[in-house]
Amino acid sequence: MAEANQLFKEFKIQSVSEFFRRNAAMLGYTGKVRSLTTIVHEAVTNSLDACEEAGILPYVRVEIEELGTEHYKVILEDNGPGIPEKYITHVFGKMLAGTKAHRNIQSRGQQGIGISGAVMFAQVTSGKATRVITSTGGDIIEAWVKIDVDKNEGKIVKKEKHPNPKGWRGTRIELEVKNVRYIRSKQGVYWYLKLTAIANPHAHIELIEPDGKLIVFPRSSDEIPEPPVEMKPHPRGVLTDDVYRMARRTRRNTVRRFLIGEFSRISDKKVDELIEYIAALRLIKTEDDKNVQEQLYERLMNGDVKAVLRSFRGYTKVVKQVAKMMEKPPEKLTWHEAEEIVEAFKYMKFMAPPTHGLRPIGEENIEKGLTNILKPEFVTAVTRPPKVYSGGIPFQVEVGLAYGGEIGSGFDLLRYANRVPLLFDAGSCVTTQAARSIDWKRYKVDDLDRTPLVLMVNVVSVHVPYTGTGKQSIASVDEIHEEIRLAIMDAARRLKSYLGGKHRRLYQVKRRKTFEKYVPEIARALSVLTGEPEEEVRDYFLKFIEERLAQKEATVEEVAEEVSENA
């Protein structure tokens, strides 16, 4: 027994660092390049979220200093609301204690581990504490934060207060990390920030690279996005655990009130319906004949709940039992009952979930972001109306398309989930699949891999269905795939009409040149034939071409506009 105790004690001591090490992949700390990107990601996300909630136009500055081989100092500074002194350990020290982790809300954060993961990473690779300088407008607080591995909480190693005569507000953190590498690759910090800047045109982002080079992604919109609001979960989007846990936490006094009050799209009548469905399911389970059972399930699926109930003798008794369950206090709800409720939800019909909580970037802002960062000659964006996948999870797709200008030859796909750039696992992402499934030739893009084209896709949802633990690629859900396709096709149609117009104009210029280049020859010959001065003949011809082609171009333009209006 003593041995077992000893064993358990050791296990406990190692728990947090062990957890971190074991789950490094899930948390984004794998690979030397990716680890660095993840640190920057966590910090930038925190800054943007904080600014958004405080209604501040964000100014974010990232500085990477090279201290030695694979040894860097990452400095991140923002103009956010700052962190009150007593929350510093909470923000930087506690793992798995995010503010949004258990809320039904669209969020940038993906891991629920946030900046404390970065602090942890710094601690385990360099052994150094993270330096935090922050102010909410009063004194400037400078603190060195470490994570107490035993207690799974933040610990301030050293703290100083400084006067703040200029009223500075914001947060600056400095992390010293080893085992990472800075490269300007498509998985690196530079690319991450560039993509972030595109999706957040309201943010001013700066990067100082290890060689001292300053890169600025300037702000192109003064519109601060509204923070997302929490939405009540939709019955089709919950798991047994959710219902069970929510029932423990709720302040409502009956299960019925709990269901009506904590879920969206559940009314008093729906609970009555739910009672019948649960009763029907209980009865069906008593049926021995597998075939009959199968048929009954099918009828239930078709909404024929009354008929299913009537096929059992004494069904009213069961219905009454279930109705009784609905009137008991929610905290008395058993796991089994929660399971029954969730199962019945699957057979019932509900209104689509509310989508007011979703916060897309918006067509105008996508266009601003793409124009500002990529400097294309053509840009367009499409934000689709919200849709629902797997019956109850709202999501929304938006795409932006940028063509030509300073964009180099070749197709680039920029993937986002809730505005956060996805840099890894592109191959398995539904976004990639949808983009590749488009017949680009139909949109005047003959050779996709040689066209200067950038496509950005942002999938917005409370629950983005990621594949795997890395959370860097979106699962191939049919509804999402289709929405992405529709959005791309819509944007591509606009690109087509732009390219069409461009081809037409090029053709006109070429056509005009065809005639104009012969004019000097013709003028000289006609002058020989008629004795008319060469200059005059030339002017007659040039004037004629000008008049005729101007007329033609005008009519062509009109036609083009009509076409694009129809499209």
Binding site: T514, I522, L526, T530, V537
Partner: protein
């Protein structure tokens, strides 16, 4: 005592008509039309009679291959036409300079004279002589004048020998006093004049060897004939010369070729014109020309069977036939101007026997046979094919 001759010089039907001012005025007229159109804001164009078989027909009345009235309109403001429009004007201006300066240029010279890079482009006005030659032909049809009248000369080939006086620019000479080589026919014969003609007819001979034979045998002098050697297919200059000698000087034209499809085709072009130059038939063809030989009948009459040669190709009744010479003969049988008993008979015999007979085969009898017996006999007896 010479025998009375069947062939005599006739009354002239045309007059010497060459006038360089006509070409110049036509060129200026077209130039002015273009200028007027552009000034009025209209798209200038040229109407050019179409070339090719589709615009060619045989005119029964004049018995000439003639050009139809199909026109193609060449606009300036048309992506497909603009280049040719420019080229047409370029050549027109060049012709104007040539004619007014009284200079002559060959087709190749005309090509090089007008070829240059268009400023500001990598494009040449003419990339190839194959571009400039058709433009010159277009102008012939458009203006209704001969290339030669525009002072652009064709290849020269052929020569004449006989007692006629020729005035060529400042030179004047008798074509029977230039030695056995005769007078080489220049590419352009428009300006040539004939102050004196002392012959009764002109004998057009296919091969130079036969013409030389006749000259050596003093045939021109004895028979009072003008020898015209075409050296194969008659050049434009020679055809024009034949035409002019016939129409302007009233000389009967008698053609003497090999007895094979190729020889008969030479006769056909002299007589009726060719499809390529249908638009010039009026000026180049001589429908009144007659044919003296060789014919299939000659083989029998003069016992030349052992000097015939086999026709090339596959006969019509054999597998894969008709091809080669046979095919050619069958085509010639369809020609409107060969639709008469005499010619159909000759062509059918050639098919039947599958042989051809060359002019030189007559040397089988003796060298002087052709000059002393064959030709005088046939010509004076009027034993000629139409």
């Amino acid at each position: 005592m010479p025998k009375p001759k069947a062939i005599k010089r006739e009354r002239p039907k045309e007059k010497f008509s060459y006038d360089p001012r006509k070409v110049l005025s036509r060129l200026e007229e077209y130039g002015r039309n273009v200028l007027e159109a552009i000034k009025a804001g209209k798209n200038p164009y040229f109407d050019i009679p179409m070339r090719g078989l589709s615009n060619v027909y045989f005119d029964e009345k004049s018995r000439l291959i003639k050009m139809g009235d199909k026109l193609s309109r060449r606009y300036f403001l048309n992506v497909a036409h603009a280049r040719k429009f420019m080229q047409t004007l370029l050549v027109m201006a060049y012709v104007k300079r040539l004619v007014s300066e009284n200079k002559h240029a060959s087709l190749r010279e005309a090509y090089y004279a007008n070829k240059h890079t268009i400023p500001g482009t990598k494009e040449n006005t003419f990339e190839d002589q194959r571009e400039s030659d058709p433009i010159i032909e277009d102008l012939e049809r458009m203006l209704g004048v001969l290339r030669e009248e525009m002072h652009i000369t064709a290849d020269r080939r052929g020569y004449i020998y006989g007692d006629i006086v020729i005035r060529d620019g400042e030179d004047e000479f008798n074509a029977s006093k230039l030695g056995s080589g005769g007078w080489a026919v220049p590419g352009t014969v428009e300006h040539i004049q004939f102050p004196e003609i002392n012959v009764d007819y002109a004998l057009v001979v296919e091969t130079a060897a036969m013409a030389d034979r006749l000259i050596e045998e003093k045939f021109p002098k004895k028979e009072n004939a003008l020898i015209i050697a075409t050296q194969g297919q008659a050049s434009r200059g020679v055809r024009r010369l034949i035409h002019r000698l016939h129409y302007e000087e009233g000389l009967p034209i008698i053609v003497f070729t090999d007895g094979d499809p190729y020889g008969w085709y030479i006769y056909s072009t002299i007589k009726q014109g060719s499809i390529n130059l249908a638009y010039l038939s009026d000026k180049l063809a001589t429908p009144e020309a007659k044919f003296v030989g060789m014919t299939m009948d000659d083989i029998e009459r003069y016992g030349l069977k052992n000097v015939t040669e086999k026709l090339k190709g596959i006969p019509p009744n054999k597998k894969g036939g008709p091809s080669g010479d046979y095919k050619r003969i069958l085509e010639e049988m369809e020609y409107p101007w060969f639709q008469n008993k005499e010619w159909q008979r000759q062509l059918k015999l050639a098919l039947k026997w599958g042989v051809r007979i060359e002019q030189q085969a007559l040397a089988n009898k003796s060298l002087e046979f052709v000059a002393k017996e064959y030709l005088p006999e046939k010509i004076n007896n009027g034993d000629l094919l139409p």
